[in-house]
């Protein structure tokens, strides 16, 4: 039996092949959920989905779109939001 904390499905299970040629079960962290638009809750484009240690290696410009509300709102919602502010 695996260790008690590995018995739940919080960890995903990956089979790896060792240099010896034996396949082995390895427990890995699950990816976080993809970030969503604050208004329409659709998954955002242009934002990588990965564990914090994977995102740390990426350059800043590739983590979110360099747009107004980039990383918080999707493009169509951001456009609508800007129009709303201008017309005030």
């Amino acid at each position: 039996m695996p260790r008690p904390n590995k018995r739940s499905r919080t960890f995903r299970r990956v089979y790896l092949r060792t240099p010896k040629g034996v396949s082995k079960l390895v427990y890995k962290r699950r990816k976080p959920e993809s970030s969503k638009c604050g208004i329409c809750h659709k998954p955002l484009h242009g934002i990588p989905r990965g564990l914090p240690y994977q995102l740390r290696t990426l350059p800043k410009s590739s983590k979110k779109p360099k747009r107004m509300f980039g990383g918080n709102l999707c493009s169509s919602c951001a456009k609508r939001e800007i129009i709303k502010r201008v017309r005030k």
Partner: protein
């Protein structure tokens, strides 16, 4: 049409104020101001009521001066880049 103040909606310059400088065709215009001087689709612009009095095809410096007079905030960052280029 020329001199009308707009706001860009798409791209990294979205939300910034710009001025129409010239007309290119029925769909596109030349814009300048707080954005790079570039061709822009009319669908990517939101028009405001204000109109600056500038000539057709005015230089960027003239556009920025006209914007300052009408009390529209001019981005500081861009002027720094322009100074470097002038040297």
């Amino acid at each position: 049409m020329i001199g009308r103040i707009c706001v860009k909606l798409n791209g990294r310059e979205s939300g910034r104020y710009c001025v129409i400088v010239d007309k290119i065709n029925n769909n596109a215009v030349l814009i300048d101001g707080n954005v790079r001087r570039r061709k822009c689709n009319l669908k990517h612009l939101e028009f405001t009521n204000k109109i600056l009095d500038i000539k057709k095809g005015a230089k960027t410096e003239d556009v920025l001066e006209a914007m300052k007079k009408s009390k529209i905030m001019v981005l500081i960052k861009k002027s720094k880049i322009r100074k470097k280029n002038a040297k």
